[in-house]
């Protein structure tokens, strides 16, 4: 029995120590916002924060985590950087299919936490490990600049009070 601190809560899980954090989050705890893309740390869809650092959870055995604090996309909006990133993501409309975007948001939030005013080179370095097959990179860059500066850097979408959807 391992105890993991996920999004501020201690969770006891009955899993082998070599099981990657990704599958503990998705299949055991039931937090499905963290995505499976490649299984070999090549695509970044599985990015979570461990003690504030962006890591690829698909290759991180849970046995190595100890009492580290794990943050997933489900809770990143509660941090100042996470909120800024999510807001900017919506304002410039980064999302297409959306499957990689939770990982993108996690990488971007970690970047802002450590570097509140990243340059284009900083963004390249922090975000090149996250693949987006839809090709949303141009707007990812814009959204990070917008989140950092608070100033609109591209056309802004017209916001409205969205319902959660679709109903299952």
């Amino acid at each position: 029995m391992l105890t993991l601190n996920v999004n501020g809560e201690d969770r006891s899980v009955e899993v082998p120590e070599d099981m990657p954090l990704l599958w503990v989050l998705r299949d055991v705890i039931g937090l499905t916002g963290t995505k499976f893309g490649c299984g070999i740390a090549q695509c970044g869809a599985c990015t979570v924060h461990v003690d504030g650092q962006a890591v690829r959870s698909c290759v991180l055995p849970v046995g190595e985590l100890g009492d580290a604090k794990i943050t997933t996309v489900e809770a990143i909006g509660a941090t100042p950087e996470g909120k800024k990133i999510q807001d900017a993501w919506l304002a410039v409309e980064v999302v297409q299919c959306g499957y990689c975007q939770t990982g993108q948001v996690m990488s971007a939030a970690a970047l802002l936490r450590h570097n509140p005013q990243p340059t284009d080179e900083d963004i390249d370095a922090a975000m090149s490990g996250n693949i987006c097959r839809c090709g949303t990179y141009v707007r990812i860059r814009q959204a990070i600049h917008q989140a950092a500066t608070g100033k609109p850097v591209a056309e802004q979408t017209i916001a409205y009070n969205l319902q959660k959807g679709p109903a299952q």
């Binding site: 099981m19 070999i40 090549q42 090709g135």
Partner: protein, 735 residues
């Protein structure tokens, strides 16, 4: 797989081409057949479905208004990134007169007759058809609902309907000062007659359409709450990990499961014709156990199949095979200087970010499926066949798709999941590893094209000949799409009708099938992605041979064609075409009219002394007719270009001994953020006809890039992906 616009009763081939940019599906559609598809008005089956969904007022299959809560809009197409949930909701909400803050969207159940795309006669999302096919129907559907709400209010208040107005989900009667919400009117509206005719808004009064409305699905996709197929969890579910014979068509000979059985959590080992699946409570446990299996394969008949052999066979077939002619007209016997070239296109995997998956529960009396599919009704048909259950006992819940790109127009993964689930009593979530996803794709096939032109004294083509060689997707996927003699229009889409003024054309296709065990599929941009690379590369070659500027050369051939010309001019102006550039930097232009839109892309590249291509800048101009959401148009062009440039720079699936060599993102590379240039998109306004958007950027990407590489290096690369080894600077020596 492009389509004509709707409402063309018996269109001539040329009319289809002018309006839709292709006629591949005209045959498939069976134009004029009476089969029902989505409608603004009630159809058989509507009432039963609405009752099952507990809807108070369901004027058609697309809109549900209840006594309380938001208006529910049922999405006939699927959301895979292209933004159609938002566009379709905008069109319905616009004429219904509600805000997007007053609606929620729901995935449609699989029913061709209620949710089929009219031009495809089936519930299929593909071919950049959604908005082209449905936009007027959705508007009318909104207007029908609004008219019935007004007539309910007018009846209750005893006032003329004409005196009532609507705004943001409320009907008002100014003279009496009365008003009622749509929720309050739902019950009475359900008793009104469906109007036979309704007026539609003047586009100048649009509140939503044409504006950069925020996507309906974005908030749930940035906070992790959106549910994709892979995220489905149902009670008692087990996860299945699958191993399939690496050799195409190979079968399972034997499997020893002792070691696998010892792994923690393992539930069942399931034998399949071409592989083995292991189920366990989670993916990791299933994978670990599957990897402990000792499997022996019968590698089957394709052990000698290789990509190298395929290209040799294509080359041979292209020289000696019998061709099916797409068109042959004009004075083809003109003599003069002749220029020829051979273009080659690799096999491609789709590699959507969400690996293929499906949750299936086969019970004695029914089969329940949760999956993100571009063809939900096709998946139902496949499951019915495999289970022996009638189609109405197959319950399919469609989901958000983590990328489609044509991969989810296939149901092979659903079939595999059904075959696993048939053997166990519990629900199974089958998830493909990325390696399985790439190695067992239904890939885009390879092509070899011979193109030639006779040019006049100034170097402009007077005879254009094109002979493409490769396999047909519809031959398997929808044989009814083929011409009687087997001709497949996808093979010559965007190569048999050019906007350029060329007097004589001969365009033909030599079929060369892939092995039966390697089915091939649709890939984003379909025929146009294949053909525009060759056409626009070759036009560039002709310009160079004529000693003319490539933009000027195209302009001259477009003088009679104002819509394409304005797109070309806009892109050239935006990038500052003609500026002097540093050494080993070059700009390449490409223009085409795929999917009923007109698009021009210009790429600026720098090629390093060792031959590495860096894209410095991209500019595109697009005329797609009426614009639904300009933000989406920009996103589709940016993303489409990146998808196409990824292909041109990195992507090739190779077979050796009948097996795919590539396996994951380290050897099937994707463009990354640090490799992405700024991309400007300019919308050229035009009232119509309306064009498709989802595949346009991809189809135009590769030729612009290859032409830029030529401008930068003087090396003409006619085979994709572009090989950097051929681009090293001879002056730089061995770097």
């Amino acid at each position: 797989m492009t389509l004509p616009i709707p409402d063309v009763a018996q269109p001539s081939r040329r009319a289809l081409l002018q309006t839709g940019g292709g006629f591949a599906l005209a045959f498939f559609l069976g134009v004029g057949s009476a089969r029902a598809t989505i409608s603004a008005r009630p159809q058989p089956g509507d009432a039963e479905l609405a009752a099952r969904e507990g809807a108070t007022f369901a004027p058609n299959a697309l809109i549900r208004i209840d006594r309380e809560g938001p208006v529910r809009l049922v999405m006939p197409n699927v959301e895979m990134g292209q933004g159609v949930y938002t566009t379709e909701a905008m069109l319905l909400a616009e004429e219904l007169d509600v805000g997007l803050d007053q609606v929620i969207v729901q995935h449609a159940p699989p029913i061709d007759a209620l949710y089929g795309t009219p031009l495809l006669k089936s519930q299929t999302t593909g071919g950049s058809t959604t908005v082209r096919a449905n936009w007027m129907i959705l508007r009318e559907a909104g207007a029908v609902a609004r008219a019935m709400l007004i007539s309910a209010a007018a009846e209750q208040w005893g006032v003329p309907a004409a005196e009532c107005v609507t705004k943001a989900g409320v009907v008002k009667h100014a003279a009496s000062g009365r008003s009622a919400t749509y929720n309050e009117l739902a019950e009475a509206a359900a008793r009104q007659q469906t109007p036979e005719k309704v007026g539609l808004k003047d586009p100048k009064d649009f509140k939503l359409v044409g504006k950069p409305m925020r996507r309906i699905d974005s908030p749930s996709k940035v906070d992790g709450s959106a549910i994709f197929g892979i995220d489905i969890r149902v009670p008692d579910m087990q996860v299945a990990y699958v191993i399939t014979c690496p050799t195409a068509g190979g079968t399972l000979k034997s499997v020893k499961e002792d070691e696998a059985r010892k792994q923690p959590g393992v539930k069942d080992v399931i034998r399949l014709p071409h592989g083995v699946a292991v189920t366990a409570p989670n993916y990791w446990a299933a994978k670990k156990a599957a990897e402990a299996l000792e499997i022996e394969w019968d590698h089957g008949p394709n052990v000698d199949f290789s990509t190298e052999g395929l290209f040799k066979a294509l080359d041979e077939a292209s020289r000696t095979g019998k061709a099916l002619v797409a068109r042959s007209d004009g004075p083809l016997d003109r003599k003069g200087k002749t220029i020829e070239a051979v273009y080659q296109h690799p096999i491609l995997a789709h590699a959507p970010m969400e690996p293929l998956n499906a949750v299936v529960h086969v019970r004695p009396d029914a089969c329940e499926i949760w999956v993100g599919s571009q063809v939900p009704t096709r998946a139902v048909g496949a499951a019915a066949k495999l289970t022996g259950l009638p189609e109405d006992k197959i319950i399919l819940h469609n989901q958000y798709l983590g990328g489609g790109f044509g991969r989810r127009l296939e149901v092979d993964s659903v079939e595999l999941a059904v075959n696993i689930a048939k053997q166990v009593p519990y629900p199974v979530k089958m998830i493909w590893s990325r390696e399985h996803d790439i190695r067992h794709d239904i890939p885009r096939t390879a092509y070899l094209d011979r193109v030639s032109a006779v040019v006049d004294d100034e170097g402009y083509p007077v005879v254009w000949k094109d002979r493409t060689c490769g396999a047909s997707v519809p031959k398997r996927w929808a044989p009814q799409m083929l011409r009687k003699d087997g001709f497949d229009a996808d093979l010559t889409e965007c190569s048999d009708e050019l906007s350029y003024d060329i007097p004589a054309f001969h365009v033909e296709w030599v079929p060369h099938d892939m092995p039966e065990a390697i089915p091939i599929g649709w890939w984003r941009g379909v025929g146009p992605t294949h053909n525009i690379f060759k056409v626009e590369g070759f036009v560039d070659e002709l310009a160079h041979a004529a000693g003319k500027d490539p933009v000027e050369f195209r302009r001259k051939m477009l003088t009679k064609n104002p819509r394409p010309l304005s797109v070309l001019n806009k892109a050239a102006e935006a990038i500052g075409w003609g500026e002097k550039l540093p050494p080993r930097v070059g700009r390449g232009v490409a223009f085409a009219s795929p999917f009923g839109s007109h698009v021009c892309a210009i790429a600026e590249v720098e090629v390093s002394p060792r031959g590495v291509i860096r894209i410095r800048r991209g500019v595109a101009a697009i005329d797609c007719g009426p614009v639904m959401n300009p933000n989406t148009v920009e996103a589709q062009i940016q993303g489409g270009l990146i998808f196409g440039w990824t292909m041109a720079l990195f992507n090739e699936i190779t077979f050796e001994k009948g097996a795919v060599k590539q396996s994951n993102f380290h050897d099937y590379r994707m463009m990354r953020l640090n490799e992405t240039p700024p991309i400007e998109v300019h919308i050229v306004k035009n009232e119509g006809p309306i064009g498709g958007m989802g595949e346009v950027g991809t189809a135009i990407a590769a030729p612009a890039l290859a032409n830029a590489v030529f401008a930068a290096t003087g090396v003409r690369l006619r085979r994709l992906p572009l090989d950097p080894r051929l681009l090293a600077d001879p002056k730089a020596g061995a770097a």
